[in-house]
Symmetry: C2
Subunit: 183 residues, 2 copies
């Protein structure tokens, strides 16, 4: 649960970061920045800010904003009908992000799993992305990511996005956030 | 026909423009910037500089660089097998670009059709894109575009890119450039 005020504050923060790195948004895009808090009530720790540029039945492009050490929790994009599942390419534009996917676990994992959520982080093959770095995640592959100490901006290029079908490891997570009435 | 020296000069120019607006490339990407001169031997007027970030069988993402008043000539992306043709979304990141597609012609076309190529520009429905502006071109639709006086940087999000199937209105055009031997 997140209040309207918290959403607006996060939108302003994300818009300021995008401005700072020279990524221009329209007024409408700025007003519609999506704040994903995943239902855990700890946006600063587990959350993600998104600008969806385009999402057609063939491809999708978004800008992802992560605040310092903010984490997008572990999930996968399963097959849906004839679609083998969303395939996505992350390209770091600013800051630093650690991406974790299935595979050999890193000896020293640089991200910090959000306290209290340890059981729901199960893949630890680490990819560090700095500006200009990119990585493509195959469909139906578990992954999660966390920004470094400054935060991060990541461009996501992908097949069609159908967020409502995402499967999160943590059963407490709701992808579509509930916003509290009033303030 | 273009010389190796001209290619390298255009690559340096395009890389400098991307740097200027804060778009980071890897050394390998910088060395591989694609210079499309379309076989007309007038790169400054008719040409395009491209960084292909990713091109899978599902989606593609590129950065397009246009020098001042440089024009990407009229073409369309036809159906190929089961693919209805490439669908693409242009998002202006920096500068200004005039995009022309099929539809009602503008009363005052702002771009200048490259001299000597007038017969090969046939669509004049004008869309002006400034930073943050974007437009999605349906498959198999004739289009061309030209940068304003400062040049432009445009992100292209699309379905799979198969440049070799592009159909240009100008029969003189070769999409895959020939590079002169030696210098």
């Amino acid at each position: 649960m997140i209040t309207r005020t918290q959403v607006q504050e996060a939108q302003r923060h994300a818009a300021a970061l995008l401005d700072h790195v020279g990524i221009h948004l329209t007024d409408q895009e700025r007003a519609n920045i999506e704040i994903a808090e995943f239902g855990l009530g700890e946006l600063a720790r587990t959350g993600l800010e998104l600008v969806v540029y385009v999402n057609t039945d063939r491809y999708c492009a978004k800008e992802l904003v992560l605040f310092p050490r903010q984490t997008c929790p572990e999930h996968r994009h399963p097959p849906v009908g004839n679609d083998p599942g969303k395939m996505e390419t992350f390209r770091c534009r600013w800051g630093k992000v650690w991406l974790y996917v299935e595979g050999d676990a890193a000896a020293d994992v640089q991200a910090q799993v959000p306290a209290g959520s340890e059981p729901y982080y199960t893949v630890f093959h680490e990819i560090e992305l700095l500006p200009g770095g990119q990585y493509t995640i195959p469909p139906n592959t578990l992954h999660w990511f966390q920004a470094g100490d400054e935060g991060a901006i990541v461009s996501e290029f992908s097949s069609t996005s159908r967020d409502e079908f995402d499967i999160f490891t943590d059963p407490r997570i709701k992808r579509i956030p509930e916003i509290a009435e009033g303030r």
